[in-house]
């Protein structure tokens, strides 16, 4: 048993939080076993600090551990409240991401074959995934608590944009990794990126008036029809060339402007 004990000065400095971490840890180890020093320290710790520490401990113990997706978001620096709002999004949960991965994998494998459609099938599918993800991320059918949210002060437009951005980021990252990993590092492997933005922003702006799921389905179907009709005779990557990309950029810009103009419709 140690014969060393804290003196008044050390107790005051510890209570005020002025000790360096090493010395504080040493004092705490001693306090665990020394009733005399605990009695010396107790009246010197301010009540407010004790309450604050106790509240922190109680909160940490009583609060359920969030799911893995929320934990991942927090680990990369997302605020806990934003992580919770995003954690409620269907298309950011594991089953959806797993299904997207499988769909992209099949498209990538099909693109690797020497069929006449080649890379075109991958470039066609990749923009549809974020559209589908965004379409089920908000709205009456996509968000079970949508009606409760409508009567809350939080901006539904902001929530929608936040979820759309998260879905777009996760599906784009997935498609990028899959494309670069399985199809090579040529720039055309990422030529779906602007079409993704264009189709997603188009879905969002249409959702200001119609059900998001219907909008997503309509945009995806139109995209497929246009791709098939354009490439039926002679499949090529012309839709993903410079002129095409400029067109997708224009659609994204116009949709963005319309979206801002119609933002009140989401609340």
């Amino acid at each position: 048993m140690s014969t060393w004990h804290m003196d008044d000065g050390l107790a005051v400095r510890y209570a005020d939080g002025e000790l360096n971490p090493t010395l504080a840890a040493s004092v705490e180890a001693h306090l665990l076993a020394c009733d005399r020093c605990r009695s010396l320290l107790a009246p010197r710790v301010p009540r407010s600090r004790l309450d604050r520490v106790w509240a922190e401990v109680a909160d940490a113990v009583d609060t359920p551990t969030p799911g893995p997706f929320e934990q991942l978001l927090r680990a990369i620096g997302v605020h806990d409240h934003t992580a919770r709002l995003l954690g409620a999004t269907h298309s950011l949960r594991l089953p959806w991401i797993a299904a997207s991965t499988v769909a992209l994998l099949f498209a990538a494998l099909a693109s690797g074959e020497t069929t006449r459609w080649g890379l075109l099938s991958y470039l066609t599918l990749a923009p549809i995934l974020p559209v589908a993800g965004v379409a089920v991320a908000f709205g009456r059918d996509g968000d079970p608590a949508h009606e409760i949210g409508l009567a809350a002060p939080y901006s539904m437009f902001r929530l929608m944009l936040m979820r759309a951005a998260a879905v777009l980021t996760s599906s784009s990252a997935l498609a990028l990794v899959m494309g670069l990993g399985l199809l090579g590092d040529d720039w055309t492997v990422a030529a779906w990126l602007l079409p993704s933005l264009a189709l997603t922003s188009l879905t969002l702006v249409l959702s200001s008036r119609f059900d998001p799921r219907h909008c997503g389905a309509a945009v995806a179907a139109t995209w497929l029809v246009v791709v098939v009709a354009t490439n039926l005779r002679e499949p090529s990557l012309a839709m993903f060339g410079g002129a095409g990309q400029a067109g997708y950029l224009a659609i994204t810009f116009v949709s963005g402007v319309l979206l801002i103009a119609r933002r009140r419709e989401f609340s």
Partner: protein, 279 residues
């Protein structure tokens, strides 16, 4: 708390609300009416989710057209079919709604979440997934989220639908408790709920207010107009367990006067609508 004058809401060719005028103060107010009377449309309007096409509405002394956010900060709303993220725990769901109510600071928000969960008696299942809860517990969870931020006005749309008698009793206990120091508006077509809970009642019929008063006043409308007789008679009539007909309306021959209920007064107010529904 609520002042409505001449509210109109039209969907296509139909008028869900047709010049509705009424007021609501503190305590529990029941919105009573048959299906299609406009109750849900009205509750959604009071929750600032819908805007009226015509008429004037003031909620908590403010105009929802201009002060929507301020009103939303001071109200709680339980929709008719509240959805829950079923993968969330009770705590996570209430925490989610608390964030939508602009409670950003983590520890204060968690304290508030724990407070409302305790108030509805769900502390013991706070860490359970919503998909494992019974219907009654989910209703209480719905109530819990309305209490966040201690709102002055709470709106409940058909809160007792689907509950068994015991759950309904516990629910009434909870609503009467939360209605002690704030305004609670609940829509229902259950006259028993109104008789048991409400200090005021507004009866809607085809989008109009046909009665505004106390449950006792609506019961008194049927005073001297409810009869037991051997023969069927009156506006509405049904055979009771002892073989006699309970008739609402003019006295049939040889009839015995019966003690009226809130339901009798309500059926008289609905008149032809109730008779058609019964036919």
């Amino acid at each position: 708390m609520i002042e409505a004058a001449g509210l109109v809401k039209t969907y296509g060719r139909g008028r869900a609300l047709d010049g509705l005028t009424f007021t609501v103060g503190k305590g529990v107010t029941g919105l009573l009416g048959p299906n299609g009377a406009g109750k849900t449309t009205l509750i959604r309007m009071l929750a600032t989710v819908l805007a009226p096409d015509e008429g004037e509405l003031r909620l908590l002394g403010r105009d929802p057209a201009g002060d929507r956010l301020e009103i939303r900060r001071r109200l709680g709303y339980l929709p008719q079919e509240p959805g829950y993220q079923r993968g969330f725990t009770v705590f996570e769901f209430v925490d989610y709604v608390a964030i939508l109510k602009e409670m950003v600071e983590r520890r204060a928000r968690h304290d508030e979440v724990r407070r409302v969960i305790e108030e509805v008696g769900l502390t013991s299942v706070s860490g359970k997934r919503i998909r494992t809860l019974s219907g009654g517990m989910r209703r209480r969870l719905g109530i819990a989220q309305t209490l966040l931020g201690d709102p002055e006005l709470i709106l409940l749309d058909e809160p007792t639908v689907g509950l068994d008698p015991e759950q309904r009793l516990r629910f009434r206990e909870l609503i009467s408790h939360i209605g002690q120091d704030r305004a609670v508006v609940l829509s229902t077509h259950q006259t028993e709920d109104v008789a048991a809970l409400c200090n005021r009642v507004v009866v809607l019929k085809a989008g109009r207010c046909v009665f505004e008063g106390t449950p006792e006043e609506i019961r008194a409308l049927a005073e001297g107009r409810v009869w037991f007789s051997a023969e069927k008679s009156g506006v509405l009539s049904w055979r009771t367990g002892d073989g006699l007909f309970r008739n609402i309306g003019p006295a049939p021959e040889g009839a015995r006067l019966a003690e009226p209920t809130v339901e009798d007064g309500y059926l008289l107010l609905l008149g032809g609508t109730a008779a058609e529904a019964a036919a």
